[in-house]
Amino acid sequence: MDFKFSEREELLRKAVREFAESEIPPKMEAMEETGDYPINLLQQMAKMGITGIITPREYNGVGLGYIARMIVLEELSRVSAAVSMGMQVHHMACAAINDFGTEVQKKKYLPRLARGETMGCVAVTDPAGGSDLVGMQTRAERKGDNWIINGRKCFITNTHTSDFWIVIAKTGEGSKGLSAFIVEKNMSGAKVGRKENKFGLRGANTGELVFDNCEVPQEHLIGKEGAGFSVSLKTISETGRTGMAGVALGILNNCLEEAAKFASERVLYGKPISALQAIQFHIAEMYTELEICRLLCYRACWMKDQGMRCDTETALAKYYTCDAALRCAKKAIEVHGSYGIMREYKVQRLLRDAMVTIPAGGTAEVSKLGIARAALAPFTKK
């Protein structure tokens, strides 16, 4: 077992950290106010290779793996969880097309995503079901060779900043009755709906898509008819969960940094409060959580890069890290005392951001079902 990052990974981390620390802070105020994604960062992120990090080289990507992606998402999130969130979902679109698309589809869409010409969007959640995937009511019906989509998608990330969306719709019954389509925003019958007003991860654009007799050509079906369940499951469990875990990991890291910084400077009883044992216990607990989550996150990514089945490990990483980030944000606020509840101080945003990562990309409860299944499997009687 080698727990060290390679020189390449260290340099990657440094490069993203410098970019994030220099380019993101000027955008933060506008993001908090409007909830809109800082689109003009997209070109810079594309130039660096952030937008195409897991996309193969032949489609203008960088062709690195999930450990590299985790480093990128963690470092972006350490400065802005919302910027990281937008990228995480962008990568989900890249993965879905790369894993399930035809050569024609890959050549058409992956370079646009890698070059940052548009953001990527994966629309699974329906008003009738997010956790209940099969319960969705957005339908796609055959019309000759094409499909007509009707329905809405809600709580979707990057709706308003993407030129096309990957939409999962019901084409039959049961888990074999879902199909995945690429819908372009200028197709008739397709439009963006409301923009959601989240209390956290502000700057990661969340919105609705509305389909009203939207006609989609046959060539826009991803994979076969009925493959929608697999597309959703694989994309969410491998790319989505590791992505969310990366976002939460960056928040967690920042919580510890802010708490440690404040504790080292704030003087009470004649000394910095970091000299007080009660504060040291908070810091130690946060550090413990950070180390646990780092191990869970990077181990899950390592397994994915090795081609191993990893849905339990990604579920673990996602649910635990998001939860830990929330706990640590609360601790960080408490270490700050009354300063912690003031808007001028950063820590309140970390709490709001952490909370929003919890339902995003899969609830903890759904994750735990998968984890329980894996734990019980050796003992389950046939």
Binding site: L11, A15, K47, M48, G49, I53, V62
Partner: protein, 265 residues
Amino acid sequence: MERVIVCIKPIPDPKEWHLLRMDPVTKTLIREGIPSVINPLDKHALEAALEIKDTLGAEVVLLSMAPPFTKPVLREALAMGADRAFLLSDRVFAGSDSLTTARILAAGIRKIGEFDLVFCGNFTLDGSTAQVPSQLAECLSIPNVMHINKMELKKEGGLFLTQQIESGYVYLEAETPILLSFTKKANKPRFISFLEMLEAEKRDISVWNNSDLGLDESSIGLAGAPTKMADLLLCQKKRAGIRIEGSPEEIAQGLAERIYQWGIL
């Protein structure tokens, strides 16, 4: 335009300077454990060189005089787009002042070979003498210009330069070979592109010691430096630190009273 040499100095990360300790006996600063970064102004010098590479295809060669553990810093500069790197490293280089550093760098450049331009950052954040660029140019017997805000290549060869001076600018035209040192205003250094980073892993960092350079030991390092350090003090500052509190009006009254007492009004 064939080759631009960029001098890079790895310095302890300024964000970690609060961790610096002084050895009370040798009066030297202990740098161990503090990660090294590229001196920020050197990045502007490197960016200027990379822009020449982008437009004219020149080779960008990095040169550093530093301990071997600073190799990752050169790897980072290669990842920004430089083609090759040379690291001059030897115990006898230790204790160099700016003049002996310039001699060593000059020997390194002569060993690298022909060049059109040498670029430096205007000063380093740690030593911040700003002396090495001029002294290096002197050792190479080429002209130099400091405080460069802007550099443009002329189509016919040669350069237009904008130099920052107190309350104004000097516009110059110059020929190569020449050494230029850059200010922060010169450009915005590029962020590392991952593809370039992967390519850069294949590029060479050659390490040369004094037997490769053949310098007389009495002319370099601590022995050869005309300046010697006699003492080193960490700075202590203590001021009254009296607080004025209350409403803005109360604060204003208290402060105005003091200003009056100090004889300013």
